[in-house]
Subunit: 94 residues, 7 copies
């Protein structure tokens, strides 16, 4: 298990299937770099200048969209993860 | 649905029709890059150093003008959105 | 109408007529890039780290001088405006 | 009249006459870029993160020395001024 | 012994063995630059603007993952260590 | 007289004589750029975010060492001075 | 004597002898740039935004390791010193 520090979040990448206008499903490799992930671990949050910790706005299990080219790629027990700062996450898919 | 984080705002782009001096309507493609959008989701706001959250100054439904080349383009359920930081929004069209 | 966000200010450009030493009036095009404007809308002000908002130091109707090349050009209802940050405004013409 | 914003200061440039070792007076054009000015208007001061305003350390009438290449050149009613940030002023000539 | 300052952490590098899909063990040299370490010493933590010290989130003995190319390499008593800032550590391996 | 602003300090450069190992005195021109000065005027100090002013750590008459290439050169009443920020001063020669 | 300002620390460089695997002692010149020093003077510490001073974490006599290429080289009374910011010191050798 990976326990991220501060406002970091560990995610698994999600290959988003996408249909063309004519209904053909494009596999992940024929698309742009994926920007979707599923949260698998969440840090304790960043510490403000007044000493208070701010809880991260995402929770384990959330599907999120993140900024391209952000984060640190990590291999752990044969699987690949991406560790993001909270500020790299733009939205939760609700 | 997309739920933006922090001071982020999700918008749909708005193609602004524009008439030339002689009254001819120019479609979007003959114009500059659009800078108008309609707000579809608003984050909880950024956290100040005193722990307080500052509500974002725009609301769902607002038509806004944003800085060129800002934001993260996101495809979701077949539609295209732009996720902006509040600081990328320059004005609300009232 | 445009409602600027934060410490932003919407201005109309002012073409400043200028006379040469010999009294000949130079129209705007024969001069340097204008740096004068008239304030048409003012934001609520920026938020300090203590949560307080600081009122912008200019008011609607003020004629101001701003730093060259600053601001975002915006077309709205056929007219052109410039949206500035308060920090781009150097002085009010009193 | 020009009313500078925040911690800005409006100055008139002062051509400093300078004598060579042999006593010859060099006019301004034969010298380096002037760095001296006389204060003609002073802003209300910058706002700290606690909401307090800090009065600018110079007053109208002070002769000051400023950092080369700083400030915004402004023409107003036929005269030329320089608008400086307080931080561009290095010393008052007492 | 090394006593790191502020939010710094001293680690020993850990050569992570990794098996290929076919089960062959690749020694460290055939892999990417290692990003794993074991914490051997922890600083007192960084000081906030309110004077409070924030304890570092890792403890001696923790196995951690850090950002590539971060830290200062230090040789001490024949052994090699890496001194990291807490912000260079992305996760604890739990 | 020059009255420096904020945390600025006015110094006169000091040509440090230096002897070679064999006892020959090298005049200033045969050496590196001098980094020594004598304090002739001290500003009121910088203002913290809580509105408090922090007194500068040097006093008039102190001999100090400063970082190379820092400060603003100023000519005043025929003499040359250097105006430094307090942060450019590394040590007092006691 | 040198009295460093703020969070600065004056050190003497320490030439670290190092043995190769076969036991041969390499003199300093055959090695990398030294990164070890002995603290000879310590400043009063940096001032926080709340006006409080934070004592430097090292004391006179401590042997320390610092980041390569940091600090200001200073010659004083025939000896050479290095003036570091506290943040350039990575660890105390205990």
């Amino acid at each position: 298990m990976l326990k991220p520090l501060g406002d970091r979040v560990v995610i698994e990448l999600v290959e988003s299937e996408e249909k063309t206008a004519s209904g053909i499903v494009l596999p992940g490799t024929a698309q742009e770099k994926p920007q979707e992930g599923k949260v698998v671990a969440v840090g304790a949050g960043r510490v403000l200048d007044n000493g208070e910790r701010v809880a991260v706005e995402v929770s384990v299990g959330d599907r999120i969209i993140f900024s391209k080219y952000s984060g640190t790629e990590v291999k752990h027990e044969g699987a690949e993860f991406l560790v993001l700062r909270e500020s790299d996450i733009v939205a939760i898919i609700g």
